[in-house]
Point group: C2
Chain length 150, copies 2
Amino acid sequence: MKPSPHMDRALAEAERAQARGEVPIGAVLVDSVNGSVVAADGNRVVEQHDPTAHAEMLVLRAASAALGSERLGTLDLYVTLEPCAMCAAALALARVRRVVYGAPDPKGGGVEHGARIFAQPTTHHRPEVVAGVGEARAAELLRTFFQSRR
Amino acid sequence: MKPSPHMDRALAEAERAQARGEVPIGAVLVDSVNGSVVAADGNRVVEQHDPTAHAEMLVLRAASAALGSERLGTLDLYVTLEPCAMCAAALALARVRRVVYGAPDPKGGGVEHGARIFAQPTTHHRPEVVAGVGEARAAELLRTFFQSRR
């Protein structure tokens, strides 16, 4: 797998989330035209007492605010774990161009598992999906995290 | 159909959303123990330039903040339209007790249409679902809104 600086940044956000006591998941939204990072964050569910404060939702909201638009068709998402159904549906609503993720999530994922949001005939948009980028590191982060909580 | 003061409140929030230039959808989260309204709001996608600012998401976030918890297992949601997949998945993450909605949404709904979030084996939680409460008024609001935009 070729190196991905944007996935490295997402993994760094996942580590920062873990240091805050969150599930270690990080996400970055990147301008596909010039490669600049528009928003980067990790989970903040615990900190914000907010069930919707997944990394993907936080960067979607930050990027929409920064760009003054609820449509983000030129942006690519890098996220360490397969997005859940909530986040996948939000990415479709925002028309995000491409979704690049690290580890698959058979239990909670909503892209290649469960609700398979982008495969629904009713989806508003089908981002290009690239799976498995930085998968080993993302999976190791999550494995270590859940082992430490047992 | 028996009257529902909470759905009346959700419909009033939908009308306020329309007055702000939003799609007329309103939502209320109610404490199922004492019947008090914990949060009420309408869509703010346009106002906040936020693709995730659906009425349901806004009341989930407001209620979580007010109660200091990301789990809302004692709350019931009243919403004028069938929730989309994003909102349905968020309601499952928050463990909302009951989802009462007005009009079905064959194009964008994620409860009885499309991703059918609560029917997925991987859903975190299955709220009780009650459909068709205040349906005629909710559907009329949306019909009038979309006709006026053509």
